[in-house]
C-alpha cells in the first residue's frame, strides 16, 4: 500500500500515519494477526517488550496433540513475520500510552529500551558471551542454568542479537573490546518515540501463576518441586542439559508426579477458572518423559482431565495406553524427605481414603493468569476487563475480536485461557475484524 497524502473524512493527513495497525505482543497470536493483515497490504508495527518475538510458544518442547516440535512450527512463522515487507518489529520496546486522536486515529508513545548493542552491526557470534565474567540465572531457561550479563537470549531468538543486562553488568568493558564488529556501545540510551496508527491489536498473552504462594506444595522450598514450564525447558530441543534432571542433585528422576490445577479452579488464590491447557501439556510432558526416561513412572494427580479439543481425547488415551498413571485425587500437601524425595498426601477418590505416595520429582501444572498491564496504557478511554482481568470481549456471541474500544481488537490469550490452535484462530479473527475496520475508515 502506498502512502497517499490525502485528506480523509476525519480531516487527518494520511502522511502523518506511521502504521495502519499496531500489534502489541510478538507471540504467536501477534505474529499470526500481523501476517494476515500484512498479506492484505496493511503496514504493521509489532511492539514486543521481550528480546525476541515468538512469545511463549518458541520456548516450548513439543506441542499437543501431534507432538510436532514447537520450534518447527514457530520459527518459520517468526521468520516470515520478521521478513514480511509490510511488517516492522521493535523488540525490547514497550507501549507506554495510547490516546485517541480525532475519531479514527491513535497517538502512541513507545519506550525503546536499549540493548547497548547496535542492532545493525551485531552478527550474533556470541564472542561477547565468552568473555563476560558475570553469571546469573537464565530466565529463558527458567533459571535452571546461568547466562552471562551480555547474552543472546536463546539460539532461535528473533532477532538473534546480543543484549546487555545492564542491572547485572559490571561495566568491565571486556565484551566491548572483544566484539569483532564493534557493535557494543555503552553510551546508548532508552528513547521515547511517538507514532500515529489507525488501529491496535492486543496480543499481550498471559502470565504464569507463581506457585510459591501455595506453600503446601513446597515450591521454592523443596528443590525437587518444579513448575511445568521448567520441565518444558528440560524437554525442549534447546534444552539446558541433555537430559531430564532433578534440580536438587542432578539425578535422573524415575518416579515423577504431576499435580494439576495449581493456581487454577482455586478460589483461594482468586482464580476460579480453568486454565484450559494444563491437563494437556501435562499429558504431553508425561508422554515425552516416558520417551526420555524409559524406566520412569509418571503419575498425574487430577480432578478432571480436560481433553476437549480436536485429537485431545485420543492423545489422552494414548498416554493411558503408554502407561501414564492417572489418579483422581485431591492433593493436600507435599513434604520433603532427607534424600530430596517428596511425599504426596492426597485423598484418592477410588478408595475414599487419604493416601501417601513417594515421588522423586514433583511437577506443578501451573495455570495461566491475565496480563492486565495493558489496561493502564489506554488514556482517556477505558479498556474493559472481565472479573479475572482478561480483556473483555464486548460481543462474544457474534464478534469475539472486538473490545470495549472501537478500533482496538483482541487476539489470543489476552481474552482468556486458550491453547495454540484456538489462539491462532482467534488471531485470524482479530485480523479479519481489523481489516474490516480499516476498510471502513478508508
Amino acid at each position: 500500500m502506498k502512502k497517499i497524502v490525502e485528506q480523509n473524512q476525519a480531516g487527518m493527513d494520511e502522511s502523518l500515519i506511521d502504521y495502519d495497525v499496531l500489534v502489541i505482543g510478538g507471540g504467536i497470536a501477534g505474529d499470526e494477526a500481523a501476517l494476515k493483515l500484512a498479506d492484505v497490504g496493511y503496514k504493521i508495527l509489532i511492539v514486543e517488550k521481550d528480546l525476541s518475538i515468538g512469545g511463549r510458544m518458541i520456548l516450548l518442547s513439543k506441542v499437543f496433540p501431534t507432538l510436532d516440535c514447537s520450534a518447527c512450527i514457530t520459527t518459520p512463522k517468526v521468520s516470515e513475520t520478521a521478513r514480511h515487507r509490510n511488517i516492522s518489529i521493535f523488540t525490547k520496546t514497550e507501549v507506554k500510552s495510547i490516546t485517541r486522536r480525532q475519531d479514527n486515529f491513535f497517538d502512541i508513545t513507545i519506550l525503546k529500551r536499549t540493548r547497548y548493542v547496535l542492532e545493525t552491526l551485531c552478527t550474533g557470534c556470541k564472542e561477547c558471551e565468552d568473555v563476560c565474567p558475570i553469571l546469573i540465572p537464565d530466565e529463558y531457561q527458567y533459571n535452571q542454568v546461568a547466562r552471562k550479563a551480555v547474552f543472546i537470549p536463546f539460539s532461535i531468538a528473533q532477532p538473534r542479537i546480543a543484549n546487555i543486562d545492564i542491572d547485572n553488568c559490571i561495566l568491565c568493558g571486556l565484551c566491548e573490546k572483544k566484539c569483532p564488529s564493534d557493535a557494543i556501545d555503552f553510551t546508548l540510551v532508552d528513547t521515547y518515540e511517538h507514532l500515529v496508527v489507525k488501529s491496535v491489536v492486543l496480543a499481550t498473552g498471559f502470565r504464569l501463576f507463581n506457585p510459591t504462594v501455595l506453600s503446601r506444595y513446597g515450591y521454592g522450598r523443596y528443590k525437587n518441586v518444579m513448575t511445568a514450564m521448567e520441565m518444558e525447558r528440560q524437554l525442549a530441543p534447546t534444552r539446558p542439559y541433555n537430559s531430564v534432571l532433578r534440580p536438587k542433585d542432578g539425578k535422573m528422576p524415575d518416579n515423577i508426579a504431576y499435580l494439576l490445577c495449581v493456581g487454577s479452579r482455586d478460589q483461594t488464590v482468586g482464580n476460579p477458572i480453568c486454565s484450559q491447557i494444563c491437563c494437556m501439556y501435562s499429558t504431553k510432558q508425561a508422554q515425552l518423559l516416558l520417551g526420555a526416561l524409559p524406566m520412569a513412572d509418571v503419575t498425574v494427580y487430577y480432578l478432571h482431565v480436560r481433553a476437549f479439543g480436536k485429537g485431545f481425547c485420543e492423545f489422552y488415551n494414548q498416554a493411558l495406553s503408554m502407561g501414564v498413571n492417572y489418579i483422581k485425587a485431591k492433593v493436600a500437601s507435599v513434604r520433603e524427605k532427607e534424600n530430596g524425595n517428596l511425599i504426596l498426601r492426597y485423598e484418592d477418590f477410588s478408595t475414599g481414603q487419604v493416601e501417601e505416595q513417594e515421588h522423586d520429582l514433583v511437577v506443578l501444572a501451573t495455570g495461566i493468569l491475565a496480563n492486565a498491564e495493558i489496561e493502564s496504557v489506554f488514556k482517556g478511554e477505558k479498556l474493559e476487563l472481565d472479573p479475572y482481568e482478561f480483556v473483555r470481549q464486548k460481543d462474544m456471541l457474534t464478534n469475539p475480536a472486538i473490545t470495549s474500544i472501537s478500533g482496538v481488537f483482541a487476539a489470543g490469550t489476552v481474552t482468556g485461557p486458550m491453547d495454540i490452535p484456538d489462539t491462532i484462530l482467534s488471531a485470524g479473527a482479530a485480523a479479519a475484524e481489523a481489516t474490516a475496520y480499516l476498510k471502513k475508515l478508508s
Binding site: 485429537g311 456471541l397 457474534t398 484462530l425
Partner: protein
C-alpha cells in the same frame, strides 16, 4: 544438469538426530557428483539457518538446493522462499523427508534409519540434478467467495468477507437460515438466546450489498482452481413466492392435511408440509417441503403467493475461494442406548433443550407428568473408547448440559438435577457454569467407561443405576422423572460436499485441516477452506473465531488480485507424438487437444486447464508425455539414488 548443489541435513532439534546419525549422512553425500557443499544444521527452518543457506547460495554460486528435514507438507514453501531470496529458482529446490518418513517411523532402528536417510538424500540429489527452473502461472483472482452454510459460522464468514470488499455468495441448503444455533434457545449465561444471535447476524447480512444469500440452495458441481472456481448451484423451489397476509399463511398451514414430525424440535412436536419453525424466523415466510407435500393444492387456494408449480433454478457462479461451514449433526443414540426410543422418558440434549424452550415457565411437564427429577447422562456418543466409533470428546456438551440444568432450575419449579458424568470438562471460563450448577445444588456423580450407567423402566417408573467414582465406586440407583442423554456432535449426515470438493476427513470423520496450528482453516485443496463445526466440535465463540479466520485467510489470498499456480503441467514431445489420441480419453479436465499439421498429427496441452495430475503419462504408447518436476530423468534418477551404494 545441476553442478553446484547445496545439501543441508537438519537435526530438527533431536527429532531427526536422536535416531539418524546426521553427520554420517552428510559425510555419505558430500562427495557426490554435483554436490558443492553439504552441511548439517540444528533447525534448518530457523532464521539463522535460513540466512546461512542464503549466504551459501550466493557466495558459493549454488545452482540447486536440497534440504533433508521434515515433510514437505510442512516446510516446502518455507524453503522455496529461501531459495528465491538467494536468487535461486524455487523449483531447483528439493525437500527430502527424513523425519516423518524416516526418524519417526523407524525410531527403534537407528542404523537402518541412518542408512535409509542416506539413500533418501542421495535420491533427492539425483532429482535436483535434473530439476529445471519454472515460474508459477499467474491467473486473475475472482474477487468473490462462496460460503456454504448459513448457520452462525457461515454468516460470520460472509460478513467478514463482505466487510473487506469481497462479493459473497452465501448458500443455505435448508429453507431457513440460522443452523443449529436457531434451535438452541438460551445460551450460556442466558443473556441471549440462539434466535436472537441469529437475527443480529442476519440483520448485517441483509444490509450488506456484497452478500448474496441463496436459500434452499445446494452445490451440485464444481470445477476449476483457486482463483476461479466454477460452481453450479441448484435452488430448490420454496413454492412460495412472496408475501401473503399473515392470516393467509396461517390458514394455509392449518388446512394442510400432511402432518410430519418436526425435525426443528427433534421430533418432539409435529408440523405440516407447509411450515415455519418460529415466528421471527428468517426468511419470515413459510416453505413447502417437497418430500412430504402431497400437492393437494388446498393451500394454494388460500394464498396467492403459494405456487406449487414453482420450478427449481440452476445458477452458475464463478468464485475465487470456497468456505465450507456446514456444521454438525447431534449424535443420534442407537435404539436402546440408555433406553433411548424404548423408554418414553429418555430424551437427547437437543430434544430437551427444545422442550425447555417451548415450555412455559412454572411447571415443566412432559407426556402429561410434571417433571421434578432430571438425570443427565454425559458423553453419549462421545469418548467411546479405543474400539468405539467416536473416540473424540465433543467439547461443548458439558458446558451446554450444565447451563441447561441452570436454566431449567431457574425457569421451572421444584427441579432436582442429577448429573452422571465422566469428568466435567467445563474448560476455561466455562468453569464458572460448573461452579454455579454446583452452588444451586445439582448432584454430581461420576462413572467410568468400564461401568456405564443403566437406565431401566419398572412399573412405569424410570431408574438410573450408576457406580459412582466420587464415592469410592458405590453403586446407587435414583428414580427419575426424565433422563437426558448428553449427546455429542457428529459430522453431518447427507453431506456430499466432501466428495464434491474432495475435502479429506480426519480420524474423527470431521473435515480435516492441513495443520491445526500452521494452516488451521485450509484444506489440501487450494482455495477450499473449512470453518466451524464441520471441522470438529466447537462452541459458538470458537465457531466464530474459525469462521473469521477463514475469512481473513481468504481475503489475504485474493486481495492481490492474482493467484499463482504451480507450473507443474504435462508437456508433449511432438517429435515422438503420433497423434493417436489415447491420452485425450483419460484426461479428466479436457486439457489435451489434437493439433499439428495433417501429415504429422500430434496433441498439445492446454496449460490453463491442465492440473498436473499426470494421468496421461502412462497411457502414451510412445512415452511422449512428461510432467514437469516428474520427468523420466528425475524419477529414474531418484530411483537410482535410492538404490546406489
Amino acid at each position: 544438469m545441476k553442478k553446484r548443489i547445496g545439501v543441508y541435513v537438519c537435526h530438527c532439534g533431536g527429532n531427526i538426530s536422536d535416531v539418524v546419525n546426521v553427520s554420517e549422512v552428510v559425510t555419505a553425500v558430500k562427495d557426490m557428483e554435483g554436490v558443492a557443499i553439504a552441511k548439517n544444521t540444528l533447525f534448518a527452518c530457523s532464521d539463522a539457518a535460513q540466512n546461512e543457506i542464503v549466504n551459501d547460495i550466493t557466495s558459493l554460486h549454488l545452482d540447486a538446493l536440497v534440504i533433508a528435514s521434515c515433510s514437505p507438507k510442512l516446510h516446502l514453501h518455507t524453503f522455496r522462499a529461501v531459495a528465491e531470496r538467494a536468487g535461486l529458482n524455487s523449483y531447483n529446490y528439493v525437500q527430502v523427508n527424513i523425519r516423518e518418513q524416516c526418524s519417526w517411523a523407524h525410531s527403534y532402528e537407528k542404523v537402518s534409519a541412518t542408512g535409509k536417510a542416506i539413500q533418501l538424500v542421495k535420491s533427492g540429489i539425483e532429482r535436483v540434478i535434473f530439476s529445471r527452473a519454472m515460474e508459477p502461472f499467474s491467473i486473475p483472482a475472482e474477487q468473490s467467495v462462496m460460503v456454504l452454510g448459513a448457520g452462525i459460522g457461515g454468516m460470520r464468514s460472509a460478513i467478514s468477507l463482505a466487510n473487506v470488499g469481497l462479493q459473497v455468495y452465501l448458500l443455505e441448503r435448508e429453507f431457513f437460515i440460522g443452523g443449529r444455533t436457531a434451535q438452541w434457545g438460551d445460551l450460556s449465561a442466558a443473556y441471549e438466546n440462539g434466535p436472537e444471535v441469529v437475527s443480529r447476524l442476519f440483520k448485517q447480512i441483509r444490509e450488506h450489498a456484497n452478500i448474496h444469500l441463496f436459500i434452499g440452495a445446494e452445490l451440485i458441481s464444481q470445477s476449476g482452481n483457486i482463483g476461479s472456481f466454477e460452481v453450479k448451484v441448484k435452488i430448490k423451489p420454496r413454492r412460495i413466492s412472496g408475501d401473503c397476509d399473515e392470516s393467509g399463511f396461517n390458514q394455509a398451514i392449518s388446512i394442510c392435511p400432511v402432518e410430519v414430525p418436526d425435525d426443528f424440535n427433534f421430533g418432539l412436536t409435529s408440523r405440516k408440509a407447509i411450515y415455519q419453525h418460529y415466528p421471527s424466523e428468517y426468511p419470515a415466510i413459510p416453505a413447502i417441503d417437497d418430500a412430504n407435500c402431497n400437492f393437494c393444492g388446498a393451500c394454494e387456494s388460500l394464498c396467492k403467493s403459494i405456487d406449487l408449480n414453482q420450478k427449481e433454478e440452476i445458477l452458475n457462479l464463478k468464485v475465487g475461494n470456497i468456505i465450507v461451514n456446514t456444521g454438525f449433526d447431534p449424535y443420534e443414540p442407537t435404539r436402546g442406548e440408555f433406553g433411548y426410543n424404548e423408554i418414553e422418558r429418555v430424551l437427547t440434549l437437543p430434544q430437551f433443550k427444545r422442550l425447555v424452550d417451548i415450555s412455559g415457565a412454572g411447571k415443566l411437564n412432559f407426556k402429561g407428568k410434571q417433571i421434578h427429577t432430571i438425570t443427565y447422562i454425559f458423553c453419549v456418543g462421545s469418548r467411546q473408547g479405543e474400539e468405539g466409533e467416536n473416540q473424540y470428546c465433543s467439547r461443548y456438551c458439558c458446558t451446554t448440559a450444565l447451563n441447561t440444568a441452570i436454566i431449567v432450575k431457574r425457569k421451572f419449579a421444584d427441579i432436582t438435577n442429577i448429573h452422571c458424568t465422566r469428568g466435567i470438562r467445563t474448560y476455561g471460563k466455562q468453569e464458572l457454569i460448573y461452579e454455579e450448577s454446583s452452588r444451586q445444588g445439582d448432584i454430581f456423580l461420576e462413572f467410568s467407561f468400564e461401568n456405564m450407567p443403566v437406565v431401566e423402566e419398572r412399573n412405569g417408573k424410570v431408574f438410573v443405576r450408576i457406580k459412582d467414582i466420587l464415592t469410592a465406586n458405590r453403586e446407587m440407583e435414583a428414580e427419575t422423572d426424565l433422563v437426558v442423554l448428553i449427546t455429542g456432535m457428529v459430522p453431518r449426515r447427507n453431506n456430499n460436499i466432501a466428495q464434491m470438493l474432495k475435502i479429506p476427513t480426519g480420524r474423527d470423520h470431521f473435515f480435516n485441516e492441513i495443520h491445526a496450528k500452521l494452516r488451521p482453516v485450509e484444506t489440501v485443496i487450494d482455495g477450499v477452506l473449512i470453518a466451524g463445526t464441520c471441522q470438529g466440535p466447537k462452541n459458538i465463540m470458537e465457531t466464530l473465531n474459525s469462521s473469521m479466520a477463514a475469512a481473513a485467510k481468504s481475503a489475504a489470498s485474493l486481495s492481490s488480485g492474482t493467484i499463482h499456480l504451480e507450473p507443474i503441467v504435462a508437456d508433449v514431445n511432438t517429435d515422438q507424438c503420433t497423434g493417436c489420441g489415447i491420452c485425450l480419453t483419460v484426461c479428466p479436465f479436457d486439457a489435451i487437444v489434437t493439433a499439428g499439421p495433417e501429415d504429422k498429427p500430434a496433441v498439445s496441452i492446454v496449460i490453463s486447464r491442465c492440473k498436473g495430475c499426470g494421468m496421461c503419462l502412462p497411457v502414451c504408447p510412445e512415452d511422449a508425455i512428461e510432467l514437469y518436476g516428474f520427468t523420466n530423468e528425475e524419477m529414474e534418477g531418484m530411483i537410482d539414488g535410492l538404490t546406489s551404494y
